[in-house]
């Protein structure tokens, strides 16, 4: 028996024949297909309406403030531009849509405007401080000299802020020496040991983050300087900064340690590690970037805070390297006392010191960001550079 393909019609049942498959045929006259625009993107019409509304707003604002109403000056122009721009974009949105579209457009303008305002405020702060203080920064002696024997009216080629920078560094080192073990130790206690006592500690520490910085300074002033009879010194200032940032660092570290996955701890314990080894080899290394961020942000807060230092350290015009030796200056205090003196030269010096302080905070902050970056996602910078050099050049 051989199988021969049947070439005849299939046996017909009393049913309609199945629809035949139709091959698509290409029509040469049709325009070539173009990729569709993204659905989420605004069409050219909408974009034109958006941009055009703001241009119209600017033109209207110019007419209103410069020609119609007696509102001179850039601030009024900007205010008028913003409010008229919002109004015009509301009108253009209302021409094509309903109330909902109008609300959406107005809300978007308001949100973006507020963000721009905040950005402008930040930029104005940094630029203003740098612009008023750049002249002393160019003198080398500003970085390598102190203010001993320099009068408030003397020029910028004498005197500097070395003593303030040194003082800040020493006070910060004292504060770090106290708060780093205590703060992280408390956080470890609260998360890893636990118990009722840990809950009490956590409550008190969280409550003490509310302590205003000036009250921390007043506390150290009363106890250390008045009651114990110690002189005003860098040590007292370091203690005041410690009292202020200890709860902040403890609380932030606690938050960081609490988000370490419990599975890691349990895996370590299941492998037979003791609790101490689990903390030292698993929990703390996992939380290292977060802990670094917590500590550095606390330190940045401490280095910039003036009020505790104002009460406890006293302002010296000369370089002091011994924290127990008596009055010591620091950057915030230097800025404050120079601004308070009212002398234009001193004020400019204060702005220069403020720029230096900003740079210091920026460096600390960048350090925190670099340390906090999750490892493993990106290879380290050096290997990335090394890999790029030969292959990229060949392929391009």
């Amino acid at each position: 028996m051989t199988l021969t393909p049947s070439t005849t019609q299939p046996p017909s049942y009393d049913l309609a024949p199945p629809p035949a498959t139709v091959l698509p045929s290409y029509d040469d006259d049709v325009a070539p297909a173009v990729p569709r625009l993204g659905l989420g993107k605004a069409s050219p019409d909408e974009r034109f309406a958006k941009v055009g509304s703001w241009v119209a707003g600017l033109a209207l604002a110019w007419v209103v403030t410069q020609r119609l109403l007696p509102l001179d000056g850039l601030p009024w122009l900007l205010i008028a531009w913003f409010s008229l721009g919002v109004a015009v974009s509301a009108v253009t949105a209302g021409m094509t849509g309903g109330r909902i579209e109008v609300k959406d457009r107005v809300a978007e303008s308001l949100v973006t405007g507020a963000a721009l305002l905040v950005g402008a405020a930040v930029v104005s702060t940094v630029v203003f401080v740098a612009l008023r203080g750049w002249r002393p920064l160019l003198h080398l002696n500003f970085w390598t000299d102190d203010m001993s024997g320099v009068g408030p009216k003397d020029g910028f080629d004498t005197g500097g802020i070395l003593h303030a920078i040194t003082g800040s560094a020493i006070e910060l080192a004292i504060a770090l020496l106290i708060t780093l073990p205590l703060g992280i130790g408390t956080a470890v206690f609260m998360t890893e040991v636990g118990g009722r006592f840990a809950r009490i500690v956590r409550t008190v520490v969280e409550a003490m983050t509310a302590l205003p910085s000036i009250v921390a300074g007043l506390f150290v002033y009363t106890v250390f300087i008045i009651a114990l009879g110690q002189p005003r010194s860098g040590l007292a200032a370091g203690l005041a900064i410690s009292v202020m940032i200890l709860p902040i660092i403890a609380r932030a570290s606690d938050v960081v340690l609490r988000v370490v996955p419990g599975g890691l701890r349990e895996a370590s314990l299941a492998l037979g590690a003791s609790r101490w080894r689990t903390v030292w080899h698993v929990v703390l290394p996992t939380a290292r970037p977060g802990l670094a961020t917590a500590v550095i942000l606390g330190v940045a807060r401490g280095v910039g805070e003036t009020s505790p230092v104002l009460l406890t350290s006293g302002a010296a015009a000369f370089l002091v390297t011994n924290p127990t030796d008596g009055v010591m200056n620091s950057l915030p205090l230097f800025i404050y006392s120079n601004v308070r003196s009212g002398e234009p030269v001193a004020i400019e010096r204060a702005f220069a010191a403020a720029t230096a302080l900003l740079i210091l905070v920026l460096v600390l902050f960048t350090l925190a960001r670099v340390l906090a970056r999750p490892r493993g996602n990106r290879p380290p910078l050096r290997s990335r550079l090394a890999r790029r050099r030969p292959s990229d050049l060949e392929t391009r």
């Binding site: 205590l182 009490i200 000036i214 007043l218 008045i226 902050f365």
Partner: protein
Amino acid sequence: LTTIPTPGADLAPVSPRRLSRASTGADAVFTVGARTVGASVLVITGGVGAFLAWQAYPTLRRYGWSFFTESQWQPDQDVIGIAAVLCGTVSVALVAMFFAFPLALLTALYISEYAPVRIRSTLVALIDLMAAVPSIVYGLWGFFLVMPHAAELALWLQRHLGWIPVFQVHDTDPGAATWDATRYVSSAFCAGIAVSMMVMPMACAVMRQVFSQTPPGEKEAALALGATKWGMVTSVVLPFGRGGIIGGTMLGLGRALGETIAVVLIVSPAFEVKPRILEVGTSTVSSLIAGRFGEASTSQLSALLAAGFVLFLITLVVNTGAAVVVNRSRSGAGVD
């Protein structure tokens, strides 16, 4: 061959092992050490609060309720009260929150919903950096850059909204040809603007963090049902983030109440209960402490500590309220 062990007659009877969770060896040292550190921090931080209360007690007992109702601070004449400084503290903080709250909310919304994804992490870093900028820098900014403009704004407010008691300025003529700028500077209004720059990033960071945890499924559901972006924000993001909004605002308020150096730089001290925020001169608790600690005797120091204690209690209540609100709300889930 398998042999079945038979208990010998000389073996002790089997008894259950004693299990103990008490740590041994290095663990015991670790536990005790951690407990000691915790206890010492408790002593230090709790000690500050207890010390303040202990020092404040004699003053509070001596002056009684008049400590809260008297507005003058004249230790030489034995007249001490914090009514004026409390009023000043609250008005500076309220002005700061008036500016900081909408800006923080809208900026947080911008970062989490409106900003292009590419620049989002940069903006987050920028806000964090703003929070780390020293307050004295904002003080300089407020004193030298903003105050002249703030004075003009104050004059404008007095001219057009002067019928509201808050915007009145005494001893001036708003319609005069040349206006007396000295009556409008160094006010609670000017100080509040500088303080708002300090508290805004703090509040904004909390709000943004909560907004970023909005379940994406709910946001997409709102968009799929045809909501505009703003409709999605009002129906999903804002209700979800309500706890963060309130909590962040209260945290900012707590910081604004205790802010010292920018206020000291800007305001000129005046001891008077006045709601007129545009007028020159006011005082806050912290500026009072910063101004008077130097020449204070022991009893005056106790009075200053009492004022500091009251300020601490207020910020404590505000911060605790913020923590409770953030933890209670749905958005608190997973937020530490």
